[in-house]
Amino acid sequence: METAMPISTAEEQMPLSPWQLFWRRLKQRRIAMAGGAILIVLYLVALLAGFVAPYNYDRQDRSRFFHPPIWPRISSFHLVVPRYEQLPGSFNYRATPNDTKPVRFFVHGGKYKLFGLIPATVHLFGTGSENYPVYLLGTDQFGRDVFSRLLYGSQISLSIGVIGILLSFTFGMIIGGISGYFSGWTDTIIMRLCELIMSIPALYLIISLRATFPPGMSSSQVYAMIIIILSFIGWASMARVIRGMTLSLREQQFVLAARSLGQTHLKVIVRHILPNTFSYVIVAATLSVPYYILGEVVLSFLGVGIQEPNASWGNMLTAAQNTEYLRNYPWLLAPGAAIFITVLAFNFLGDGLRDAADTKSL
């Protein structure tokens, strides 16, 4: 029998759109794809934090402060956790022999709200018993589960990066676009303002801006405040780059063509000039998210950000300031590892996006 000739459809012959070409080049970059996959997992887990975390972020286990991590092990085809007992007079714990309880999935536990809306009690895993806890990353000085707090904290730390970028980049693009498009004294004023903001060391700016907000705000107010502060610092550098790109783009003939159709200045900027900067902006945004995450960490670490008992990666690290804690209870550094992984994943993805967006590369 003859083998059938491959029939190329019209669809295959169609030239690829810029996005398809971009995607094809991105797929060839394994490290970037790995970074992207890690980020997808992290964000999914953050979204479902209440479900994945076995305990609530503020649940205290008063009989188990500074408990080391408890990992389930396999015993007669079951995942089991042993029962630990505190040795008197110290934060040392010992497993009681032959006293275990199986770890079950989709177990009922403490109340939480899925997506902050739907009340639920089902957790991904747990033992269902207070005496047999599963502390994957141990507990902190208040007997709270570090793993659960890490997940709740990721909701804040990961979302601050994305929302902050959205805010500051939108603002920076529009301001930069206006600055470059109109040039002249508009440009001079805006650019000097940007330079002013950029010339002040970020940390001092963060702390002095924090001082302009009243103390004793609710946690959601603090959350909004952190985003505003970080965006206020971040838009200037974006505006400068976009302004430079706009200066060259506005001389392009399609800008004149759009104006000759009677398009308004603002729409020419937003609809015609800024979309031409997207390939740069997407890369820059990905590479800048870590700075926002670290900004929140710095604020919370200094005790002026997210307040206890709410969890964020920054305020969890506050507990790890003490060298004695660090030596004896190294699991308190877990949020540091989480930050490390997230920042690295964003950088790998950003690098890959930049290479894929560069049409001159192969």
């Binding site: 030239p15 810029p18 003939q253 004149l256 063509a257 000759s260 159709l261 009677g262 398009q263």
Partner: protein, 319 residues
């Protein structure tokens, strides 16, 4: 009343002592349905004059120091921004030199034509209307073409899209600024043919800017020849081509290579167009003019009607 009446237009780049006069006393009228060609070397002010019709030259640096541009009887130079946006595309549309650069590279062409419709004919901003326009400008496979990005099209196709965009709002005047310079010769002929047909079907006027005298004979009713910011000759196209009067026009015609002439060297006009702001005193063409006399660099000649409909800026046109 003429559709367009430019009267003694004077435009500077810059201001004060540094001002450079780019357009110096240009007067030109275009009637409804008429085709006028604006001819001249690079840098003589053709494009700036044409862009001024919809006040598209960015100001600053440009500033209009005199004259008026009457479009449908109303002075463009006195219009508010809102009125200007209405006439841009609404009364006068533009087609530019390089179609590849005139289309936004990141949008599909169908959406770009639709944008033009949204601005002036919002009720007609549909795919069906876009397809009708593409049919009008002779693009095949329109249903799939509207999803193309500009880079997926050839130069001729891109220019057809530009023309479709310009026609979307049914303008009274189409300004085509060297619409075929970036295209190869066979495509040039197709695009000019298209413009010619569209003009007859839609009854719009065309202001065609070119430095190609070959185009003039095919397209134009009247021709204005510009040199160094001034019109030096204005005449019906056929008569100008048969019997040019101004020495500059004669020199331009001589520079067109002739098939019958054999393998002689191409004749060129000696020297260069004077730099803007550095115009010679008196007649601006005098330093390059074969018949220049000593008075030529003293007195500035006027544009005079020497025969019916024929205007020349040279007192020695007879010689």
């Amino acid at each position: 009343m003429n559709l367009l009446e430019i009267k003694n237009l004077k435009m500077d780049f810059g201001s004060g002592a540094d001002a450079l006069r780019a357009v110096d006393g240009v007067s030109l009228s275009i009637g409804a349905g008429e085709t006028v060609c604006l001819v001249g070397e690079s840098g003589c002010g053709k494009t700036v004059t044409a862009l001024s019709i919809a006040r598209l030259v960015p100001a600053p640096p440009a500033s209009y120091v005199g004259g008026e541009i009457l479009l449908n009887g109303r002075d463009v130079l006195k219009m508010s921004n809102g009125e200007l946006r209405d006439i841009r595309g609404g009364v006068v549309s533009y087609v530019f030199q390089d179609p590849g650069a005139s289309l936004n590279p990141v949008f599909r062409v169908g959406n770009q034509i639709k944008e033009s419709l949204k601005l002036h004919k919002p009720e007609k901003a549909t795919n069906a209307e876009v397809i009708r326009l593409l049919k009008l400008v002779g693009i095949p496979a329109r249903e799939s073409r509207i999803k193309n990005y500009p880079f997926e099209m050839s130069g001729g196709m891109q220019q057809r899209v530009m023309i479709a965009m310009a026609l979307a709002s049914e303008p009274k005047l189409l300004v085509a600024d060297e619409p075929t310079t970036a295209l190869d010769v066979t495509i040039q002929a197709q695009i000019l043919e298209l413009l010619h047909n569209l003009k007859q079907r839609l009854g719009m006027a065309i202001l065609l800017i070119t430095h190609n005298l070959g185009i003039v004979g095919d397209m134009a009713d009247r021709v204005a020849v510009m040199y160094a910011g001034q019109i030096v000759e204005l005449a019906p196209a056929k008569e100008l081509l048969r019997r040019p009067l101004h020495p500059y026009t004669k020199a331009l015609m001589n520079a067109v290579p002739k098939l019958a002439g054999g393998a002689n060297r191409l004749s060129a006009i000696p020297g260069n167009v004077p730099r803007i702001g550095n115009f010679p005193p008196g007649c601006r063409f005098a330093p390059r003019c074969p018949i220049a006399k000593s008075e030529c660099s003293e007195k500035i000649p006027e544009l005079v009607e020497v025969e019916a409909g024929r205007w020349v800026r040279c007192p020695y046109w007879k010689s």
